[in-house]
Subunit: 124 residues, 2 copies
């Protein structure tokens, strides 16, 4: 199987409790099962490894030349408006041969919100 | 239109930047448009209002007697494993006439994760 030159980073906040990352691990596994040719790495803003730069280095080392970072955050507050652009710019400088871009936070996506509404409705 | 005795609280972390709550406002609006008979309130753990107790008081005042709290978090770390149960127990004591329960975090839901995978795939 030829691996795609495109890859994806699922970027989360991180937390002290290791169990916090379980949905992120499931998310990466789900991605990989459905998109086996497109590499995926998790990365975290703080408190968990790898960092964004480490995840990008790992993907670039294995041949990815176009990497899209998906912020797995609901809201776009200080972390995504201030910290993340600085991190992303630093990575662009560190990896000039990689085409690096980012999506809005997943909480901006209507289908993600709809899935939360549906989950809530099933709980009632 | 008769309002349902059941109501829902969408419970998020909160943040300093007011724009962080935009997806939560959209989530509540989406719920209300699709479930007009079932009241919804947002509530936040910290940095934003209303608190969980304030949201429950407001729903109880307007006649809700069964309230389901949906934690709009991805991971279940310290906030959901430690802080949230304490808050929820305090609310159960404060509102003995309300049947109060909570779902797992929305990040535990496979359909929510799938929506994130689909969003990511569209971005590639």
């Amino acid at each position: 199987m030829n691996l795609n030159a495109k890859a994806i980073v699922l970027f989360g906040h991180g937390a002290r409790d290791a169990r916090w990352r379980e949905p992120f691990d499931r998310l990466a596994a789900l991605w990989q099962a459905q998109h086996p040719q497109t590499r995926v790495e998790l990365a975290f803003l703080e408190l968990m490894q790898p960092s964004l730069a480490e995840a990008i280095a790992s993907l670039a080392d294995s041949g990815a030349s176009k990497i899209v970072v998906v912020p797995v955050f609901f809201g776009q507050g200080g972390h995504l408006r201030n910290d993340f652009p600085v991190l992303l710019d630093a990575c662009k400088q560190q990896f000039p041969d990689v085409a690096l871009s980012a999506t809005p936070a997943v909480g901006e996506d209507e289908a993600v919100l709809q899935a939360i509404v549906d989950f809530s409705a099933r709980a009632l």
